[in-house]
């Protein structure tokens, strides 16, 4: 039995990764884990970009402009910068409150 692997397969993988990352953002108690889940969501988006780039019927079939791949590279760079900022925040919070449990970061609570 042959399963044809087309665009929808890649999109499905991307969606699954995204949902796993989304779940991690909601349910993880450690801040670092939340940050990692955000990274996972960003990478899922990268898969989507590349998949669309691969399967788009470009006008000149010989040359693939690799638009999606360039976008994915862009996302990776931005994600790196964002993680740098995020980790700096986490370190500051840890130094202040001695905890990385997200549930403890509730001083905006009523």
């Amino acid at each position: 039995m042959t399963i044809s692997v087309g665009l929808s397969t890649y999109l499905l993988v991307g969606a699954m990764l995204f949902c796993i990352g989304l779940y991690g953002v909601f349910a993880k108690r450690n801040i670092i884990a939340v940050l990692m889940s955000i990274e996972l969501m960003l990478n899922a988006v990268n898969i989507n970009f590349v998949a669309f780039s691969r399967f788009t019927p470009w006008a000149n079939t010989a040359i693939n402009p690799l638009i999606g791949q360039v976008a994915a590279l862009f996302v990776i760079v931005v994600a790196a910068a964002e993680i740098a900022v995020g980790l700096a925040l986490v370190i500051t919070i840890y130094r202040n409150r001695q905890t990385t449990n997200v549930d403890d970061l509730n001083w905006l609570k009523w």
């Binding site: 665009l7 909601f26 905006l108 009523w110």
Partner: protein, 652 residues
């Protein structure tokens, strides 16, 4: 000549305006200076008197023209949507007569007050209020429509309150002022309801003139049944009459007038004898067309209440010992006369009696004030006696007043009282005639009782009376003059009835037979008083001993005040107040507190969304995205074009 008089009528507004100006000046500028205040006040009222005399002459010289077409001069006061209210002056014989009476009595009272209130701390305040009262009463008399009349009606009620409670440091004065204001206010509610309903039905409140109430009722108004079988006009008439019941002291709203004697005696003379209390009679006379077009029940009701008040008050008066209270009940009784005269359809007689009564009642009140002033605030007639020796002018003028009220010719009261009684009999009310005749007998009796006990007889050792100063005796003499000649306005060919009447004018001669009977009743009363108090042939104590229950009942004013107090205590405070208090606490406050509780409850519920935790907020974002997606997916119309599912399935 008439044209000049016509121009004079246009200045009629000055008559209430000058005393009002005097009120403002005294209140804001000259309060500190006693002399200036009284001078300004007296100047203002004397000028108004002069103007009133001028208008009176103009009215008389214009003949019956003004009776059919009253002179109206109005200014638009406010126009809101369909509501148009004017303020203005109405000059016709009735208002001209009232202008003369009010300005004359007010000026005499103010001049008298110079002597009576001399040395009083509130001298300026007194003249301030007197001016305001004069302005209000004159404005009332000149009112062209019901609303303007109601405004001045309330103003005179206010002045009455201020002047009764003039010596505000006395508890009894404060209580009496409140009682007067509240009792008349109860009457005013009926009047206001009547005014509102009349406006709603007719769209106007004017008395006379094109499109006014009187014209509409006479021409194109179709009466209809409102409640049960009572017609609309009848209900309106009864509602409007409730106001005069309060203001003119008809039973059961009479209770405030005897207590109003707490005020200074000139105030009692002006307000509670001659002017304010007759405002009710004047209103009924002005609105007589309403009572005429309503069913006869309305007028019969008025006649019944008036006659009852007359005899009721007269019976109380025979057992009173305070000189001012006797005069107060006498006023109530005479107001009853005026009211039942209107009730039997004798507008002329009622207005005539209003005029003559103003003269002799004010005279007697001022005379009583003279006595009180001379005896240093003694008011019980049994503490007086033999005053004729040291106070001749007061005695003579008071005596003229007594003869006038007893209906002895040729004094003023004879003509007016006789007209009323004749009208009662001739218009088919024999029972009311009998009541009126008996009341005339009682009136003569108790007034002569007062006169004999206080002025004649033996002097008391502890009294040192002296005649009052000129400022007090001259007004007495002026009013005595009018008490003598006032009734002669019925005699000439163009007499009182020629000018002041309702409907068609039918000149009537005097019925000398009926006149003789009423004079006889008066003489009987005088004779009985003479027998008891001068000759002492019958002892007053003996009569009291034979009828102790009756005497007690009369002396305590039929316990009406006690009954009212009981009703207020047990029913109002005990029951109604409790119900209303419960309603206020539980329902009104409940609603307000409930609103606050709902707000707080919603707040405390909704604040749980602010957990301060990042993941909670992230979850909210997610759910928002889901909702947004669903709207786009399931939405119709333009939203369907953005449907991502369609886009998704297209690429493979």
């Amino acid at each position: 000549m008439f044209k000049e008089m016509h121009n004079l009528f246009q200045w009629a507004w000055l008559i209430p305006f000058l005393p009002f100006l005097s009120f403002l000046i005294i209140a804001f500028i000259t309060k500190r200076s006693k002399g200036l205040s009284s001078t300004i006040s007296i100047l203002a009222i004397l000028t108004s008197l002069g103007l009133s005399i001028g208008i009176g002459i103009g009215v008389i010289s214009s003949g019956t023209e003004l009776v059919e077409q009253p002179f109206l001069s109005t200014v638009n006061w406010l126009t809101i949507g369909g509501l148009k209210i004017d303020f203005g002056t109405l000059v016709d014989p009735m208002s001209a007569m009232m202008l003369f009476v009010v300005t004359l009595v007010a000026s005499m009272v103010q001049i008298y007050s110079l002597g009576y209130m001399h040395g009083d701390k509130g001298f300026s305040r007194y003249f301030c209020y007197q001016s305001l009262f004069a302005a209000s009463m004159l404005g009332l008399v000149l009112a062209t429509n019901l609303l303007e009349l109601y405004v001045f009606w309330e103003l005179v009620g206010l002045c009455s309150y201020l002047l009764i409670g003039f010596w505000y440091f006395k508890v009894s004065a404060r209580e009496a002022a409140k009682k007067a204001f509240i009792t008349t206010r109860v009457g005013d509610v009926g009047l206001l309801i009547g005014i509102l309903f009349l406006y709603k039905q007719f769209g106007t409140l004017d008395f006379y003139g094109p499109g006014s109430l009187s014209v509409q009722m006479a021409t194109n108004f179709q009466d209809f049944a409102l409640i049960g079988s009572a017609s609309y006009l009848t209900i309106m008439a009864l509602l409007v009459f409730i106001g005069p019941m309060g203001k003119s002291g008809q039973f059961p709203f009479h209770v405030w007038l005897p207590d109003a004697m707490e005020g200074p005696t000139p105030v009692s003379a002006l307000i509670h004898a001659a002017t304010m209390v007759v405002a009710g009679v004047y209103l009924v006379a002005r609105m007589f067309f309403l009572f005429d077009h309503a069913s006869p029940v309305a007028l019969e009701f008025i006649a019944g209440i008036g006659a009852f008040t007359a005899i009721f008050a007269a019976t109380i008066a025979i057992a009173q010992d305070d000189i001012k209270k006797i005069l107060a009940y006498s006023t109530l009784s005479q107001l009853g006369y005026m009211m039942f005269a209107l009730g039997v359809g004798a507008l002329t007689a009622s207005m005539f009696h209003l005029m003559t009564h103003a003269f002799f009642k004010a005279l007697m009140f001022l005379g009583a004030g003279s006595v009180i002033h001379a005896l240093h605030e003694k008011q019980n007639i049994w503490d007086m006696g033999g005053l004729y020796k040291k106070m001749p002018i007061t005695t003579i003028t008071f005596g003229i007043g007594v003869l006038a009220i007893s209906g002895i010719p040729p004094f003023a009261g004879f003509f007016s009282k006789d007209e009323i009684l004749a009208a009662a009999l001739q218009n088919g009310h024999p029972f009311i005639y009998a009541v009126g005749l008996f009341t005339a007998f009682l009136t003569a009796f108790y007034m002569c009782r007062l006169f004999f006990v206080a002025f004649l007889g033996k002097e008391k050792q502890e009294n040192h009376p002296h005649e009052s100063p000129k400022s007090m005796t001259v007004p007495l003499m002026v009013l005595a003059f009018f008490s003598v000649v006032g009734g002669w306005a019925a005699l000439p060919e163009h007499n009182f009835a020629y000018f002041i009447h309702y409907g068609a004018f039918e000149p009537e001669g005097m019925n000398w037979g009926l006149a003789a009977i009423s004079v006889l009743a008066g003489l009987l009363g005088i004779g009985l008083a003479y027998t008891i108090y001068i000759k002492q042939a019958i002892q007053a104590e003996a009569i009291v001993a034979r009828f102790p229950g009756v005497y007690k009942l009369l002396k305590n004013k039929y316990y009406i005040d006690e009954i009212y107090q009981w009703v207020i205590d047990k029913v109002m405070d005990g029951f109604v107040a409790k119900v209303l208090y419960w309603f206020d606490i539980h329902i009104i406050d409940g609603i307000v507190n409930g609103l606050a509780l709902i707000t707080r409850g919603a707040g405390s519920g909704l604040r749980r969304t602010s957990t301060g935790q990042l993941q909670t907020y992230a979850l909210v974002f997610f759910f928002a995205v889901v909702v947004f997606y669903l709207v786009l997916a399931m939405g119709e119309g333009q939203l369907a074009a953005l449907n991502p599912l369609a886009m998704l399935g297209g690429v493979k």
